[in-house]
């Protein structure tokens, strides 16, 4: 069935639309209304903790699972009811799912063989796909003879050989060690640019998501809490959850005292601070929650025009950063991080925590 494209879809060249799909397993609702428009050639990441429903979303897109409600629209066609083999979408599975009884060549060429392509053509395409993932000449190896990283590459080659419209990747780098993961992140990005295929990528690693994506959908308990570019999600988190999960940001609560042109000033037990309002309309007296990233927190000894009183709790160096843990007067824990040299403060010191209003943003507090 051909669905009439909306004006936006034509303008933005939407290749895949997820329309309000829901899914329950037994009594537990795993997905509650998933909406997403993916543009052609885009790299979209679903970011969320384990168990939030990422894989379930991917399986519904691939057709391996039926949603209870909602639609999947691929290039304007409603494929909600179509079986997996009728969708021009391929998956790189979390466990790779390489066929153990076939060698690498047969694994990679599987999609073409099923389609009934000529032997010579398959051979050529397999060689090309393997060179794309830097595994030239691996055709005759068996999957069990490969390292984790090599299996990963084979799984990718197998999934891209049929030139899918959308490639789904389920935590493809999850099983690899850190160094290999960094390298593969770069290679995957390169691969996506070379092939021009739309990627939907799953990860629970916020750094990976920020590094690789055009857009990130931050997922929590079966819903997208925020969908936006890495910069949007990082600089202007919509909810306190997104702020914590993506930026490991500090969360401070208080009551609005005044509002002015995109900024809100709030009073907390420890003092008064100002932050961007993040598009939320506040009135004096409203509860306000703001998020401030660790690297934007300054620690000063004397109170200036705005700041929060705090006690130094702990100092340590983590990954080249000096990390100071402080406790505000109302008991909230704040972490400040900055590069470079040691600070003169020692645990027990009473100091003031400060940040410029541009660096703090009001967020919604969802249950």
């Amino acid at each position: 069935m051909l669905i009439e494209k909306t004006r936006d879809e034509v303008l933005e060249d939407i290749i895949l639309s997820l329309r309000n799909f829901k899914k329950s397993f037994g009594d537990t609702q795993v997905l509650q209304g998933i909406n997403l428009d993916v543009r052609r050639g885009e790299f979209v990441t679903l970011l969320g903790p384990s168990g939030c429903g990422k894989t379930t979303v991917l399986r519904i897109i691939a057709g391996l699972l039926d949603a209870d409600e909602g639609q999947v629209i691929l290039e304007g066609n409603d494929v909600t009811e179509a079986p997996p083999e009728k969708r021009n979408v391929n998956t790189v599975f979390q466990s790779y799912a390489l066929f153990p009884h076939m060698n690498v060549g047969a694994n990679v060429g599987y999609a073409l063989r099923i389609r009934g392509e000529k032997k010579a053509k398959i051979k050529e395409e397999v060689a090309r796909a393997l060179s794309l993932v830097q595994l030239e000449g691996y055709e005759r190896r068996m999957p069990h003879e490969l390292s984790g990283g090599e299996r990963q590459r084979v799984a990718i080659a197998r999934a891209v050989i049929a030139k899918p419209k959308v490639l789904l990747l389920d935590e493809p780098l999850g099983a690899l060690d850190l160094q290999l993961r960094r390298q593969m992140q770069i290679e995957l990005k390169r691969l996506q640019r070379t092939l021009g295929i739309t990627f939907i990528y799953i990860t629970h690693d916020q750094e990976e998501a920020l590094n690789m994506s055009n857009r990130i959908a931050v997922m929590r308990g079966g819903v997208f809490e925020q969908v936006g570019t890495p910069a949007e999600v990082y600089d202007t988190p919509r909810t306190s959850y997104v702020a914590r999960f993506v930026g490991e940001a500090n969360i401070i609560c208080g009551k609005a005292v005044s509002v002015s042109d995109g900024f809100v000033t709030l009073r907390t037990d420890g003092g008064v601070v100002t932050a961007r309002d993040g598009g939320i309309k506040f009135r004096a007296g409203d509860d306000v929650t703001i998020s401030v990233r660790r690297e934007n927190i300054q620690i000063i000894d004397e109170l200036q025009d705005a700041g929060l009183r705090a006690t130094v709790k702990e100092k340590n160096f983590v990954g080249g950063l000096l990390r100071t843990t402080l406790e505000l007067d109302d008991g909230v824990e704040i972490i400040a991080a900055r590069c470079g040299i040691d600070s003169p403060h020692v645990p027990g010191d009473v100091v003031y925590v400060m940040f410029t209003p541009e660096h703090a943003v009001a967020v919604r507090e969802l249950p």
Partner: protein, 317 residues
């Protein structure tokens, strides 16, 4: 000098190693003795026996001969051999056709159905197989239950002569051997990593193509185990042919039994057994060649199990 010290150390190591080996050899000695006494010994005795001559009255004489083997290829016995092979072949085929889907389905269905299906085909095991075969006689004999039923509905007018026929023996064979196939297929299908089938669908295979290219090859080891467990006994289970086939159907097992117990031609019975054993070995050899797939599956299957466990734990929280 240093090298001398090194050498000494090394030889000390070797000595200790040798000692350890001797100790562990001593430990497994009983197993070797047992195997030798009850497996290798009788086997060798049987092979030797098959080259001896039958004594005039009783027992054997130690005169080398190939006559026993020649005898097998004589008109009468070779015919029986062929018939027996054919029967084994048909029985095995029937067992595959019934047992593969059953075992496969049992592995794929919900745990509660799994238990039900498992019990259903285990109940017969609680009764001695001979008694069960006599049950078949009651059903199949002329004017038996089946005949009465068919005549009552008016499908037939006179008793069918179902018992003591070739098909009846096959029914009996299938009945006795089916559970072995079901279990073998079940255990293989249960290990199958379902994400492989999903991957094949994802890559464009229809359900049938996914079955042919992924499910079937990966459950083939189980099927072959079932074949070995079906084909070999169905040449030897003489009592089934005796009870259900009257004396119309003669298996290799029947001749062996007859030669051993009635005719007392032990060398000939031994020769028949040797040939049967060679056939079995060939079958097992083929099986081993193909079943290597299972080893390859080892990794994937294990990973999948871990994943399942993880999922379960996640759900428990």
């Amino acid at each position: 000098m240093t090298s001398g010290v090194l050498k000494k150390k090394k030889s000390g190591c070797i000595k200790r190693e040798n000692k350890r080996r001797a100790a562990s050899a001593l430990l497994v000695l009983p197993i070797y003795l047992f195997t030798f006494a009850f497996v290798v010994g009788p086997l060798v005795y049987m092979i030797i026996l098959s080259f001896m001559t039958r004594a005039e009255v009783w027992g054997v004489e130690r005169i080398f001969t190939l006559d026993n083997y020649k005898n097998i290829f004589s008109e009468v016995y070779f015919g029986t051999f062929r018939q027996s092979l054919k029967l084994a072949f048909i029985s095995t085929l029937a067992v595959i056709l019934l047992g593969y889907p059953y075992g496969y389905y049992m592995a794929r269905t919900s745990p509660s159905w799994q238990r039900r299906l498992m019990t259903m085909q285990m109940i017969p095991f609680w009764v001695n197989s001979l008694i069960r075969l006599y049950g078949w006689i009651i059903i199949l004999r002329a004017n038996g239950l089946l005949d009465k039923l068919l005549m009552a509905i008016g499908l037939t007018d006179e008793p069918l002569k179902l018992l003591y026929s070739y098909p009846t023996v096959i029914v009996g064979m299938v009945y006795v051997l089916l559970p072995f196939m079901i279990y073998s297929v079940y255990s293989s299908a249960e290990k199958l990593d379902w994400s492989l089938v999903e991957a094949s669908r994802d890559l464009g295979a229809s359900p049938i193509k996914a079955f042919i290219t992924v499910t079937f090859p990966l459950t083939l080891p189980g099927l072959l185990t079932g074949v070995v467990l079906t084909f070999i006994p169905s040449m030897g289970l003489f009592f089934i042919a005796d009870i259900l086939g009257g004396n119309k159907v003669v298996l290799v097992g029947n001749i062996i039994q007859e030669q051993l117990m009635k005719v007392h031609n032990w060398p000939f019975a031994a020769a028949l057994s040797v040939v049967l054993m060679i056939l079995t070995s060939v079958l097992i050899y083929i099986y081993r060649r193909v079943a290597r797939v299972e080893k390859l599956m080892g990794d994937g299957a294990k990973e999948n199990k871990d994943k399942d466990k993880e999922k379960e734990m996640g759900r428990g929280v």
